[in-house]
Symmetry: C2
Subunit: 376 residues, 2 copies
Amino acid sequence: MSQPIYLDYNATARVRPEAIDAVARALTSVGNPSSVHAAGRAARNLVETARADVAALVGARAPAVTFLSGGTEADALAIDSGVADGVARLIIGATEHEAVRETAAASGLPVEVWPVDADGLADLEWLAATLADGPRALVALMLANNETGVIQPVAEAAALVRAAGGWLHVDAVQAAGKIDIDIDALGADTLALSAHKVGGPQGVGALVAGPRARLTRQLHGGGQERGVRSGTENVAGIAGFAAAARASSRDLPALTAQSAWRDELAERMQAAGAIVLGAAAPRLPQTLCVSTPDYASDLQVMNLDLAGVMISAGAACTSGKVKPSRVIEAMGQADLALTAVRISGGWATTEQDWIHCGDVWLEAHARLADRRRRVA
Amino acid sequence: MSQPIYLDYNATARVRPEAIDAVARALTSVGNPSSVHAAGRAARNLVETARADVAALVGARAPAVTFLSGGTEADALAIDSGVADGVARLIIGATEHEAVRETAAASGLPVEVWPVDADGLADLEWLAATLADGPRALVALMLANNETGVIQPVAEAAALVRAAGGWLHVDAVQAAGKIDIDIDALGADTLALSAHKVGGPQGVGALVAGPRARLTRQLHGGGQERGVRSGTENVAGIAGFAAAARASSRDLPALTAQSAWRDELAERMQAAGAIVLGAAAPRLPQTLCVSTPDYASDLQVMNLDLAGVMISAGAACTSGKVKPSRVIEAMGQADLALTAVRISGGWATTEQDWIHCGDVWLEAHARLADRRRRVA
């Protein structure tokens, strides 16, 4: 068998060589950034340089960035900060990541689910009407969906949220490094990032704050990250995050061009009866969510895995459990949910990877159809 | 100037080569442990193997270990879990780390501060009397103090806490890898660990649970770590943690022997008028907390740093701020607090490092005394 092909970047990206180097270098010299001696000052310098690099990935300035342990903690810090800031309700996109949904559910505040259309796009008229009728809200709308790649109309939502005096939290974990992001243009009050989705190490993320957001401390202790997030900084992880952020910005044109390879695969699968989810919506250039009637998601994943091609049935967090994609159900496409798979490329993905994935998928699909014909 | 000498392991240990290798290897092959394909299964395997290794560091079994972002989060998860389990008050050792103190203060429950004697040892009679008089308590007693190295009578405290039906949380962040730890012998209900204090990477830690502890989820989302701690696992960090844990166990005899070098330095400094904190208490073998009348902590740190020797004035978290050590104040030694420094060795520290530290310190101290004589 040839080298395995990894097409599950939305679960976790292959770590970029720049990030591996940055982590290794930091680990060989690491100090505690709170120490005043030479090693401590060097570690502090690494963290603060990285802060500017990560900020630049979303058009922000360094002081806007709070480093923490990942996207889940970033979503939690944003929502908890909004609650502490006095919002009286939470409005949550119907296709938000579980980190947002579950945190909202645990907040104790009323949670309203903001519907999406059949392509997964949030309904702005619904938002306008809902904001007009009720107390101050924190609104959570992800920039791009992790399963479908659908890109939400965040700037339009932000204008509505701002007019209503609300707080807009944008989970940009899956969008970062895949499309150009400018926090000011988006109008987000808080924006969540995760290093491992942009080719950095797992276990590090950031919450980027807009000018109106007041963050409330969540972890108490030594007072790191300006008192907002205690705990010794993950210096090597932060350095790796920054290296990946820089490389992601550099590679954005190449990643954008990957949509052509993605679309060619989609066409081949569609010719075999598959249906692309979110086809009419703007989408991330390297994500394909596609459902094939009578071909169970987990069987597709298994068949491809046996052939050395790694893809996913829905989000990684839940893909261990056999249950329909909640995202696809929210799009009103429940009949497609149990036969959908996600194929997602990244910085190291080649055209040949997409083609080979299609070859393998089509072959397995044809074998299945053949078997069924003989049984029938 | 010769190679700088790092004697601030209690702030953060030099990362062990085994840990650097393990992190680098994991980063080159990393998948999401929740993915079902080959890369996901390999990542899951790394995490679960590491879980057993980290458990072994404290005599526990793998299922007892919950991985999270560090010691601060481990302390928070323990205290929040105790609160969710229905304790009505918190009893906190007077010399606990800020991660414990600040989390307790934010809990909303009454907090009683458990006094220590002049050597920093917790007063067991006070605990017995306090437990006898009041509702169910969570008691937090660190295994070894980060500033003085003083080792608390945890097993004795555990017997009292158990008899009272309470919850004992043991912050073992600073003790792990420096003394032998057995969670059953200690009788801890929860025990906090941090990778970067045992020579692993920063940004990863663990909470180890005893048989009676019920952990409450703190971060909500994908349901990782058996639902207790959501967020994609820090696979490379966890692998590095495990490698460091294994190496720490292997090197424990060598570290234990380091107390002789530490004591030789203490004698030289005492001969120049310095006072050892916690001298009569059992202490970590590689920690020296020493106060020198009329020689400000930060001046000592600076003088040594200029000579290429890195030590600390109190805990790293707060050492950026000039304020007296709260730990030393709690020992009733406030007059020693502003002139105390902490010198702490680790796995890569040599006898020559301790000797050179003494040479440099004595030279700077003599220079200061000489300057003062000439001014007088």
